[in-house]
Symmetry: C2
Subunit: 385 residues, 2 copies
């Protein structure tokens, strides 16, 4: 594991936020960091050079989808995920656990693993901790997630405990199956909303000394306050000297609340999915570009944004969506990714200067600005692609 390292560079005195650096075989990641989602080995509608130019350091891709299409051996034969999609920076792949939960038409989980029907053609596919390792080793990502057992919230304590304990046993099996020294495994904490279950699961996983830890099973039906409360007790239970990754989250506010609680890494489809649906994130809250009031609006989405979309007027961007032109989704996806990257860059700067809490409060105040478009994004966060 000598290609990997994690260093906490500074601890914010106004919160539990931390500034850190994660080193991988494909480069370093300054954290807190946000990973754009490239489900099918492409971040939807965005070219890689643009992704780099807006500040993305590391991306996520999905094991479940790539194993189904084109198949992990095709990706391996075409240079692994880095060569296949031509992204030379760090890549994290998930394990497929969340997709079993959210996408598969049927899934049956026992101790051995899961059997599910493909959401594409209904064929039966098996996924086990070992198989998830095998697929991700063929993909060649820098960080591979262990297979976890996700359950819906709210749920019975017994069921949540059972899934958390299985996730722990599966983590050990994933560890035993791993062969690539150039790939780091992150374990995933489960345990629902229950403090005892979460902390117990986190401490048991911590003993296995993984190079990184994720908090899974959130954004699956709970309220934001419930999620923040889980982070309050789960993040401190994880090793201080390892990166902490909150999977599939979230809205801009969620990122700042999680960073304040000690989380270092995020992924979410919100910026791209909302972009494709004509919603642009700004410091004054989201803009819904289909709104007629933007028809002759000469302003860019956001005055100080350097992204390619902000070279255009809101009126032009609205036109693209009204007439169904691809350039609309392309530009708004890029704007939203740039927004997220700028939000995280600002967070890192604020942490370095011990003013993260003020930064968080200032952003929240801006997003609460009363305007007709400042409604919550209506799209669920923790979904794929």
């Amino acid at each position: 594991m000598s290609s990997f390292a994690f260093t906490v560079l500074h601890r914010d005195t106004s919160s539990r936020a931390r500034l850190s650096r994660f080193t991988t075989p494909h480069g370093t990641v300054e954290m807190p960091a946000f990973m754009p989602v490239g489900t099918q080995a492409t971040v939807k509608g965005v070219r890689l050079d643009d992704l780099r130019s807006v500040g993305a350091q590391m991306i996520l891709s999905n094991t479940y989808h790539l194993a189904l299409r084109p198949g992990e051996t095709v990706v391996r034969d075409l240079g692994g995920l880095h060569g296949f999609m031509r992204w030379d920076g760090p890549i994290l792949t998930d394990s497929g656990g969340f997709q079993l939960f959210s996408l598969a038409a049927m899934n049956k989980v026992d101790e051995q693993g899961a059997v599910f029907r493909s959401h594409l053609d209904g064929s039966l596919v098996a996924l086990s901790p070992e198989r998830a390792v095998e697929i991700q080793e063929a993909l060649g990502s820098d960080v591979a997630m262990v297979l976890d057992h996700v359950v819906a919230l709210p749920g019975e304590r017994e069921r949540i405990l059972d899934a958390a304990e299985r996730t722990l046993r599966w983590a050990q099996r994933a560890r035993d199956a791993a062969k690539r020294p150039d790939q780091a495994q992150f374990a995933i904490v489960q345990g629902g909303l229950d403090e005892g279950l979460r902390v117990g699961n986190a401490e048991a996983l911590a003993k296995l000394d993984f190079p990184g830890y994720a908090i899974g099973g959130l954004s699956v039906g709970e309220t934001p306050d419930e999620m923040y409360r889980v982070l309050d007790f789960t993040a401190p239970a994880l090793p201080d000297d390892k990166p902490r990754y909150l999977m599939g989250v979230g809205k801009p506010v969620d990122l700042l609340e999680a960073i304040a609680r000690g989380v270092d890494l995020f992924d979410c489809v919100l910026p791209t999915r909302n972009g494709r649906n004509a919603l642009a994130f700004t410091d004054a809250g989201p803009l819904r570009l289909r709104n007629e009031k933007f028809q002759r609006d000469e302003c860019p989405l956001e005055a100080d944004c350097p992204c390619p979309a902000c070279r255009y007027s809101r009126g032009y961007l609205r036109h693209l969506f009204q007439v169904g032109e691809m350039l609309g989704p392309m530009l708004l996806s890029l704007h939203n990714l740039a927004y997220y990257q700028r939000l995280l860059a600002g967070a890192r700067e604020a942490i370095a200067e011990d003013r993260f809490d003020a930064y968080r409060r200032a952003k929240l105040a801006g997003w609460a600005t009363t305007n007709n478009d400042a409604a919550e994004p209506q799209i669920n966060t923790n979904e794929i692609g």
Copy 2:
């Protein structure tokens, strides 16, 4: 009209091809030139910086579509077409004549103009030579086409003559209505496949001394050989000291055959529309990327192509189309536009060196290479967007 100039720089000794330069208020165009089509003020799936990087000099946009959505006054209020879509190079707008013919659900043409039902909502819209000028002046394109009357081929001689004569009268009305000194009007020759009608119409229009001339009413049902024959007698009937524009054409072979007959300017949706449908143009003929044989193909589309798509393997590009990712259409559209621009740049170089006929023959030989993918593109050329 002092912002406009046209200079023939060199005449190929091996054909009737000419190398020329067309100056507009937004820059010069080295001809023969190909204009990517930006029907709704965007070249589908392509960013403008990419369009420039592959060598596009001038683009075409569609009066009919923009007048319907967002309306030409919206475009005008947002900086005219150049400011609206942020293309600072030359722009040509068509007149809507071809769309009346091809798209409108109903159209009724009389001497005054045309009344048609919008293909969007069925509402009645009127277009006349004067109205086409008014719209294009609001759009602010560098070159505005006069409204012409297009008829289907084959057609009765009487009907074709009537349309050609109406097109001539409408050209004079368009001339009389024009007010913008920074916009050049090109007239359009009609006359079907009939030599007498075409030459007569060309000579009559030539007397009106427009700054440029288009050959319209082709790619509407005739064979390639019929089209080439029309060019054989129509191009020489047009003024030698004005640019000659073949509207809505076409396949790579059509461009070279037309250049050999003295045509200087082209537009067509083929490169982008085929790109969206997984067909890539190459010197060895078209590749259909959905073909399974490309699944593990590590080669780029074309070895010597500098376009962004050719940084990827055919296997990856195929994957994008198989899973329905936007990046596939984005990259193949760009590759095909790059292919067309390189084809035209090669043509200009060959003309300068008096070897255009050899260039044309060498390209034709390459395209005729026997391979499974070298079938004709199956998509009609002369359609919109």
